[in-house]
Subunit: 339 residues, 2 copies
């Protein structure tokens, strides 16, 4: 086990905020990012926790990344509301857009939030969970950095292109899943490389299109969608929604635009939200879904998406989170960097 | 090759209509079903073509299936419109609901159509294509008959639960995919059984939960989702949307309700539609998506979803469709049945 130090969620949030402020993020941008990072640590989602702070700082290499951006909300008669992020970061844009989306969805039954030109290196489940916690059925889609080959092809076109979904529950946090349309996350391949371990079959091809379990060859080649051509269709759908539909960057463009070593460039996120009270008539959608969940959980070996995460959450809220000393050292150094 | 006869699409539609009328379907129900069946034959989608007519007739074994149902449209201030099918068949409910959905989506930017208590044994791509042809970005979801095990479980809970998606194109028919969340269609397993061929790995488990390539054991056991737990998440999402959200039947209930050997019982379909003019601002979403499609098609070996179907369509419109004599005999017999 790596040596670690147990920190409360408050300390984690303060640490993340401090590093970001030191690097020139505005209080609003830093606060929203730090909250998101803390929520990830709380749920044991390490790859989106403090681990991401150095990536946020690294994006500042690009002039397209704006740590003091003030997102602007555009609300019209339409049920599609927009947030222009101006090269700022997704968490703050969400804070500004979510209340407007919620209001539109409640009024009209279904609404959408398009986030434009945001740097999004966070998971989608936090916003999906928040909106589902408010009683909405929610979808979210985003695309960034071309890593995944199209069906039949060998060169990266799609991002790992996650699609997230949330459904409210009575007396429990919502059912949420947030899954890449690639067979694995990019970070999992990097982790295999670092640890000198071969990849599972089906994750990647080398630059000539041959299946590979060598992480280095995979990083030079392309990742594969999950489930063959069906996963590739989902990856394409995410490009069309978060790219073409809302007028934002495709993954191939995000990669091409990343000319400063920032690791990512601004892009879009699309969220759809449905108010069940407009849909289910006299039936109780919450009671109905609990019936289905029980049918599933009656079978040994099953669990619902997000169940494991919520269990970790309870433990971390009660006991704090073990953060590796290596991670803390890296953040300490970032704090002391001369900016 | 089975012996067959070449028929024009007009003859196919007339034949389908005649059989349905003979069995007591109203002119409206029969006309909508026959049109849908003909559209499937036109595109080479044999399993949803004339092949389905005997299934439509067989549903009449159940008192819940109503061949003369008059669907009712409910439109309010909400952007969610409803069609109550009253045990009638999905194609007619769609004819009635689609114009209302289109109007709401154009006005508000995003809208939904919930179809209730319909017998849906058709594909989803025809309605998705029609709506995308009108310029909308479209999703469709439906669930029926429990065949697929949940992640970690061994007993059927989910239907094959398709999700379809459509995106308009300029100068070509829309990009459309319509894919089951199961690894294979039910019919493909039945086909392997009939032909005495083993199933590919990963399609199914036997009733004890062991992986099987024996089609008979698979039909007694459970089908598997595509892509492991990620496909299972999509299957669950479809249940929640077409079941809990719109107050309609889950797949386990559809199976339990099928007590008359009808093969299916009434359930729901949910369609979401987005008007790109509310989303993409000053950018041309159609030009943007063509750019992405070209990036994909520049790679040898790739094709877009629905491309193959559209190619077959051109040929069938020009030359007619070869229908097997066995199929024609079966329809002839159905026509002569004493009802």
């Amino acid at each position: 086990m790596a040596e670690s130090k147990r920190l409360s969620l408050e300390v984690i949030e303060a640490l993340a905020t401090e590093v970001l402020l030191k690097h020139g993020f505005s209080a609003d941008q830093a606060g929203a990012i730090a909250e998101n990072v803390t929520v990830a640590e709380r749920d044991g989602c390490v790859s989106h926790g403090l681990f991401r702070i150095p990536f946020y700082v690294r994006t500042l290499k690009s002039p397209a990344s704006n740590p003091v951006a003030v997102p602007t909300l555009r609300v019209t008669d339409s049920s599609v509301v927009h947030v222009d992020s101006h090269g700022g970061f997704c968490p703050l844009s969400l804070r500004i857009g979510e209340p407007a989306l919620l209001e539109k969805a409640r009024k009209h039954g279904i609404a959408a939030l398009a986030i434009h030109q945001a740097i999004n290196i966070a998971a989608l489940w936090p916003e999906v969970e928040r909106l589902a916690e408010s009683g909405l059925v929610v979808f979210a889609f985003t695309a960034a950095n071309a890593y995944v080959a199209p069906a039949g092809g060998i060169k990266p076109i799609y991002g790992t292109n996650p699609m997230a979904f949330g459904f409210p529950r009575k007396g429990s946090p919502p059912l949420v899943f947030d899954q890449a349309s690639s067979a694995s996350a990019r970070g999992e391949i990097q982790l295999h490389l670092r640890e000198g371990k071969p990849l599972p079959e089906g994750w990647a091809i080398d630059k000539d299109g041959n299946p590979t379990t060598d992480p280095a060859a995979a990083l030079e080649g392309a990742q594969l969608p999950f489930g063959g051509h069906k996963g590739a269709s989902l990856a394409l759908m995410v490009e069309l929604l978060a790219g073409a539909l809302i007028g934002d960057a495709f993954s191939v463009e995000a990669s091409a635009n990343d000319t400063h070593g920032a690791g990512i460039s601004p892009g879009g996120e699309l969220i759809l939200a449905i108010d069940p009270s407009h849909c289910s008539g006299s039936t109780d959608h919450l009671a109905r879904s609990e019936y289905l969940f029980q049918e599933i959980l009656n079978q040994p070996g099953t669990r619902l998406p997000s169940q494991r995460r919520y269990k970790v959450r309870q433990q971390h809220i009660a006991e704090g989170v073990d953060v590796s000393l290596a991670m803390l050292n890296e953040l300490e150094q970032l704090k002391n960097d001369i900016v």
